[in-house]
C-alpha cells in the first residue's frame, strides 16, 4: 500500500465505503418486493442450467463406474504403492472436508461477529458446506479395502457387543463428520424456513406450493416465531463455531496421531483449520462470482462483499503460509534425523514439484490481495480461486504422500503414481458435488431473502425521494452498485 501514500493517488481514489460499517450495504435494492421479485426470479431453470446439470451427472456416472470396478476387482486398481497406503482418496477426503468449512465459518462465526458482509453470501456458502461434507463423507468408505463393511466403524448395537475401537482417530472422524453434516444441514434448513415460506406464498403452481408448504412447516412470520427463531439461530451458530474448529482438528488427528515423520506434529490442528477455511473461501469465490453474474445479483453480492471476503482469504493464506514456514523450522530445530531426511526429500527431492505448486498457489499468489484493486477485481478473484483449490488439494497431497513414501525404513522407500481409477473417482466427486449444488440453486433461493430484507430500508409512512437506512435515518440517494460499473 506504499502507493497509497502518494497524495495524488489518494485524490484519485474514489470513496469506497467500508463494508463492515456501511450504513447502506445494498443501495440498489429499494424495497422488500424488489428482493422477492429478483430472488425468486433466479429459480426459473434455463437451458444452460440443464446442460450444466447433465455434465455434472455424467462425471458422477464416470466416478461411480470406476468405483464399482474398484470394488469388484480390488483396491489394487488404484495407484497405491506400499508403503504409500493412502493416496488420492484420503487427499480428496480432506480436500472436501476443508471446502466444507468456509460455509459454517461465514454463516456462524461471522454471524457471531456481526460481520455485515456475510448476509448475502452465507446461503451459498452454507449449501456448499453441506454438499462438500456429503462428498467428503463418501471417501473414507470409498478407500476401504472392504467398503461393504464400513458400518463396522459405527457403534451400532449388535448381539455380540462388538464395538469400534474408540482410540482410533478414524472413529473420531466418523463422529466428527457425521455431527458436522447433521448440524450444518440443520443450520442450513432452519435458515431456509422463512424463505421457503416466502416462496410458498408466491408460488402459483399448486404442487410446488404444496411442497413448499410442507417444507416451510407452516411458517407464518409471526413475532413469536421470529423471537424463538432468533434465539435458536444464535445458539446454533454458537454450537457450529467450535464445531468448525473441532472437525478439521479431528481430521488432522488422522495424521498427527501417527508417528510417521511429517505427520507426527502438534501444529496440525490449527494448520488444518486455517487451511480448510482458506480453501473454503477459495471455493466460495469459485461459486459465487459466476453466480452473481448469471443470476443478475451483482447489486446483492457487491464488490464490497467480495472485497471483504478477499481480506479474509488473504488472512487465512498468511496463517497457512506461517504454518508452512513453521514446518521448515521444526524440521531443522527438532534435530530429528527422520524428520529432517523426510522434509529434505519433500522439498528438494522426489516431491519438489508438489511442494512448488503448493507454495506458489497458497502462499505467493494470494499476496496479490494486499492490493485493493486486485481484491475488487472479480475476474482475478475467480482465477485466483482456482489456484487456491489446486494448491489446497496439493497441500493434502504433500502431507499424505511424501510422508508415507519416505518413512523410517529406507528399504521400504517408494514412489506413488495414481491410475485412471483415482482420477475418475476424483472427477466423480466433483460431479456429485456440482449435481447437488446445481439442483439446489434452482429450487431454493441462493440468497437469504428474509435476512436481506433486514438490511434493506423498510417502507415508512411518509414517502421519500431518497433512501432510508435500516435504522430509518434519511440518506442522500445512491443509484448505482458501488465499486462496479454495470
Amino acid at each position: 500500500m506504499a502507493t497509497m501514500a502518494r497524495p495524488s493517488r489518494v485524490k484519485d481514489e474514489p470513496r469506497r465505503p467500508n463494508i463492515a460499517s456501511a450504513d447502506i450495504q445494498l443501495p440498489a435494492v429499494r424495497d422488500y418486493e424488489q428482493v422477492d421479485r429478483e430472488i425468486s426470479a433466479t429459480l426459473h431453470p434455463t437451458v444452460a442450467w440443464f446442460i450444466g446439470l447433465g455434465v455434472a451427472i455424467l462425471f458422477l456416472i464416470i466416478g461411480a463406474a470406476a468405483w464399482m470396478y474398484q470394488i469388484y476387482t480390488g483396491l489394487g486398481v488404484a495407484g497405491y504403492n506400499p508403503p504409500v497406503m493412502w493416496g488420492v482418496y484420503i487427499i480428496t477426503f480432506v480436500f472436501w472436508v476443508g471446502i466444507g468449512h468456509a460455509g459454517t465459518l461465514i454463516s456462524a462465526i461471522l454471524y457471531l461477529f456481526r460481520a455485515g458482509f456475510r448476509t448475502t453470501i452465507y446461503r451459498c456458502a452454507e449449501a456448499m458446506t453441506v454438499f462438500a461434507v456429503m462428498t467428503a463423507g463418501l471417501f473414507p468408505i470409498l478407500h476401504l479395502g472392504r467398503p461393504w463393511k464400513f458400518f463396522w466403524l459405527i457403534p451400532y448395537p449388535n448381539w455380540r457387543y462388538i464395538w469400534p475401537q474408540f482410540k482410533s482417530p478414524l472413529v473420531w472422524d466418523v463422529f466428527a463428520i457425521l455431527t458436522y453434516l447433521t448440524v450444518s444441514s440443520t443450520f442450513l434448513y432452519i435458515g431456509l424456513i422463512p424463505d421457503i415460506a416466502t416462496l410458498r406464498d408466491r408460488e402459483k403452481n399448486p404442487v410446488r406450493r404444496r411442497i413448499f408448504g410442507v417444507l416451510s412447516l407452516g411458517w407464518r412470520n409471526s413475532d413469536r416465531e421470529w423471537r424463538h427463531f432468533a434465539r435458536a439461530y444464535l445458539f446454533l451458530a454458537a454450537f457450529s463455531t467450535p464445531l468448525v474448529l473441532s472437525v478439521h482438528s479431528v481430521v488432522s488427528f488422522d495424521f498427527a496421531m501417527a508417528l510417521t515423520p511429517g505427520w507426527h506434529t502438534t501444529i496440525f490442528p490449527p494448520y488444518f483449520v486455517a487451511g480448510a477455511i482458506f480453501s473454503g473461501i477459495g471455493m466460495v469465490f469459485t461459486i459465487i462470482i459466476p453466480l452473481r453474474k448469471w443470476f443478475g445479483l451483482k447489486h446483492y453480492v457487491t464488490i464490497n462483499h467480495l472485497d471483504a471476503a478477499a481480506k479474509l482469504c488473504l488472512f487465512t493464506s498468511l496463517v497457512v503460509g506461517c504454518a508452512y514456514m513453521t514446518e521448515w523450522f521444526v524440521a531443522w530445530f527438532s534435530g530429528n534425523e527422520f524428520e529432517k531426511n523426510f522434509f529434505a526429500n519433500r522439498i528438494w527431492g522426489q516431491w519438489w514439484w508438489a511442494s512448488a505448486i503448493l507454495y506458489t498457489c497458497n502462499m505467493v499468489l494470494p499476496l496479490t490481495l494486499f492490493k485493493q484493486s486486485w481484491r475488487r477485481n472479480p475476474t482475478w478473484l475467480f482465477i485466483l480461486s482456482f489456484f487456491i483449490n489446486l494448491g489446497m488439494w496439493f497441500e493434502r497431497f504433500v502431507i499424505v504422500v511424501p510422508s508415507l513414501s519416505h518413512e523410517f525404513e529406507p528399504w521400504q522407500w517408494a514412489g506413488y503414481s495414481p491410475t485412471w481409477v483415482d482420477f475418475a473417482i476424483l472427477a466423480g466427486s466433483f460431479g456429485w458435488f456440482s449435481m447437488w449444488f446445481l439442483l439446489f440453486i434452482k429450487q431454493l433461493p441462493v440468497i437469504a431473502i428474509s435476512e436481506v430484507k433486514e438490511i434493506v430500508p423498510p417502507k415508512l409512512r411518509q414517502t421519500h425521494d431518497h433512501g432510508i437506512d435500516s435504522a430509518g435515518r434519511h440518506l442522500e440517494f445512491e443509484p448505482s452498485t458501488p465499486g462496479e460499473a454495470d
Binding site: Y32, E33, D36, P155, Y161, I162, W163, P164, Q165, F166, K167, W172, F175, A176, L178, T179, T182, V183, T186, F187, I190, I193, P194, A197, T198, R200, D201, R202, L217, G218, W219, R220, N221, S222, D223, R224, E225, R227, H228, F229, A230, R231, A232, F235, L236, F239, S240, P242, L243, S246, V250, S450, E451, K453, E454, P458, K459, L460, R461, G472
Partner: protein, 166 residues
C-alpha cells in the same frame, strides 16, 4: 379463535398500531413481519425466549452420552491396543464434545419448534401471503363485539386493508 387482521404497507404505522392496540387491551396481538424488526419486538415487548434451556440440557446430555458410549464399549471387551489404557478418557473427550454439539444442536431445534408451535399443518386464520413479502400484519384476537373498535383503530393507523376472521 376469532379476531381482526390489519395489513400495513409501512413499518412505522404497524408499530403505532400495535402500541395503540396494546393500550386498548383489546386482546392478544400477533404481528406478522417479512423479516424480524426490532421496532416490532419493542412494541410487542414479549418475554425472553426459553430456547436456550433446551440448548443447555441437550448439550449436557450429549456430553454424558459421548463419554459413556466410548468408555462402556471399551470396557465391554477389555482388549489392549498399543499398550494404552482400555478406557482412555483423554481421547474420549472428543466423543464427549462431538455428541454434546450434536445433541445440543438438535435440542435447540426442538426448542424452536416447540416454542414457536411449528410444524403446523394448516394456516390459521388471520395470516396472509403478503406478510411473507413486503407487508406487515397485525392480528388482534378479540370477541366479535370488539371488532368495530379494533378495525377503526387499525384503519386510523393506516392499515391498507382490515377484515375480521373466525
Amino acid at each position: 379463535m376469532s379476531g381482526v387482521i390489519g395489513a400495513f404497507r409501512e413499518l412505522d404505522s404497524a408499530v403505532y398500531a400495535v402500541e395503540a392496540l396494546k393500550k386498548e387491551r383489546l386482546g392478544e396481538i400477533t404481528v406478522y413481519t417479512p423479516t424480524p424488526r426490532h421496532e416490532i419486538e419493542h412494541a410487542v415487548n414479549a418475554p425472553q425466549s426459553p430456547v436456550r434451556r433446551f440448548t443447555l440440557f441437550g448439550g449436557l446430555f450429549g456430553a454424558t452420552c459421548g463419554y459413556w458410549i466410548a468408555i462402556w464399549a471399551s470396557d465391554y471387551w477389555p482388549l489392549v491396543v498399543g499398550g494404552k489404557p482400555v478406557a482412555s478418557w483423554v481421547p474420549y473427550t472428543i466423543f464427549g464434545f462431538e455428541v454434546m454439539v450434536l445433541f445440543g444442536a438438535l435440542a435447540t431445534v426442538l426448542g424452536l419448534f416447540i416454542n414457536s408451535r411449528v410444524p403446523r399443518l394448516t394456516m390459521t386464520v388471520g395470516y396472509d401471503g403478503r406478510f411473507s413479502g413486503g407487508d406487515y400484519g397485525v392480528w388482534v384476537a378479540c370477541p366479535p363485539e370488539k371488532y368495530a373498535q379494533a378495525q377503526s383503530l387499525l384503519r386510523e393507523h393506516g392499515a391498507v386493508e382490515v377484515r375480521d376472521e373466525r
